[in-house]
Amino acid sequence: MDVFLQLTVSGLSTGMVYALAAAGFVVIYKASDVINFSQGDLLLFGTYLIFFAVAQTGLPWSLGVVVTVLLAVALALVIERLVLRPLIGEPIISMIMVTIGLSSILRAAVNAIWGPAPRSFESFLPAGDVALGPVILSSGRLLSIPIALAVLAALWLFFRHTRDGIAMRAIADDQQAALSMGISIPRVFGIAWGLAAASAAIGGIMLGNIVGVSPNVASIGLRVFPVVILGGLDSIRGAVIGGAVIGLLEVYTGGYVGHGLSLVVPYVVLVLVLMVRPYGLFGKEIIERV
């Protein structure tokens, strides 16, 4: 039972990091139909930015988090402005290919600035343990769950209630109609990239605390794909559930079966979902009539 609970907390906390990264992915997909292959690298950048802000610059944690998120958003806005905006109106596939290029560039940039060796810094989430009856849980991991959920809830509210969030849904639904309603596509794309980077940065900050700072974080970012395929490419709710499921599956397999298999499980899920329910649990069922 102890082991099960510990695994559950660990799985959920990892899962929520996945969910944050995936939510950013969903935001971009919703607004522009672009599959952002550089989402994992935004996560990686977030991890190194918090390392830079806190360990290298010596900012206090609270300020470091703010600076990290702002830097990440600024980076995303520059990327959107310089790389993606000129491609508006071009085939979607061009934009998707560009994000693959972006992924390499971001990864190389991290490598060039901070080097390939893993770095360490003092965790800001309380390092101690919490005793829940007979079960000892890491309080850092425990805390990261509500933090992530709060960020995800904010994103969800954004889509439902704000002018820009609703405009984003409109663009996803029918771009021509959105244009004729006076919705600015460049503005909405900019906001989408900014939000995606912000949620990835928060995910990156949590990752830095939970697993440490190293280039391997980018491979964790790859888990975005099983998560969004499971949850649905265009659903924030799906990202949360998908993240939790993949995170839990991973640690349960790791804990009860073996570490090797746990690395593969997310992708097995990905393949199964694609076979059974290609639009995911909460995705929009798009029927193309030809």
Binding site: F158, I166, R169, D173, Q176, A178, S180, G182
Partner: protein
């Protein structure tokens, strides 16, 4: 003083010429019909005005009542919409996964304020504004007789109703100029009749300047103040419906053929 003036518009797609030096004026408050055979360039004209296409040559000028003028041919589509130019599409472009009400609320987009953060912060002010917009939209719903459909998902509506919703959404924008691209296409005689009625009401009761494209010459001739006839991307005639009907160039290009088959 024309509210909208198009001058020497030329639009080419590779080797295909859609518009070849087309020009026309739209007067304030009139109902102008744009007719012509298939492929004459009617939709291209609307797309240039609403900014979806950019003509290689020529100018489009919108003049506001206070005399301020705007070069639409240089503006992005969302800026043109913000100036009060609304439109519908030949192939109905609606937000299919949203309800009728949500579609119409999106018509209010240009009138809404609020950035990414402030949208969530100024709850009180935001709410008051939302109520205002809601009231406006309800008035449009009432005007277009859409009450029974207000919470239906648009993708599930019948074709004729979708056309009405699209027009209602354009009206929610509170437009100065309304561009209608074949609003009666695919409708039966009865639906056409009621759509024509709505178009007239929009012009007369709401004081909106309307430019309408349609294939159904009879309906359009009945309601329009003036007609502009296009063929091969050029204006070949213009004037009152009666004058245009008897213009030899028009009969050659367009009406002649319908007469023979009729």
């Amino acid at each position: 003083m024309p509210v909208l003036e198009l001058r020497d518009l030329s639009l080419r797609f590779g080797g295909v010429t859609a518009l070849a030096g087309f020009g026309m004026e739209v007067h304030n408050g009139e109902l102008l019909a744009l007719i012509g055979p298939n492929g004459a360039g009617k939709t291209s004209v609307l797309n240039c005005v609403s900014g979806l296409y950019r003509a290689q040559e020529g100018t489009i000028t919108l003049t506001e009542p206070d005399g301020a003028s705007h070069a639409l041919h240089r503006l992005a589509p969302h800026r043109i919409a913000a100036l009060g130019v609304a439109r519908t599409f030949q192939n109905i472009e609606l937000f299919k996964h949203m309800t009728v009400l949500e579609n119409l609320m999106l018509g209010r987009h240009v009138h809404m304020r609020g950035g990414v953060l402030s949208g969530g912060l100024y709850l009180g002010r935001q709410r008051r504004a939302e109520i205002e917009h809601r009231r406006y939209v309800e008035e449009v719903i009432d005007f277009m007789n859409l009450e029974p459909l207000r919470s239906a998902e648009v993708g599930n509506l019948a074709y004729g109703n979708q056309r009405l919703v699209e027009m209602a959404r354009a009206l929610a924008l509170d437009p100065r100029i309304l561009l209608l691209d074949e609003p009666t296409a695919g409708m039966n005689a009865e639906e056409k009749e009621s759509m024509a009625r709505f178009i007239l009401d929009v012009q007369e009761e709401r004081g909106v300047t309307v430019v309408v494209i349609d294939h159904d010459i009879d309906v359009i001739m009945d309601i329009s103040d003036r007609v502009v006839v296009l063929d091969f991307g050029r204006k070949i005639a213009e004037g009152t419906p009666d004058r245009v009907r008897n213009d030899p160039a028009v009969i050659d290009a367009y009406l002649g053929r319908t007469r023979e088959t009729a």
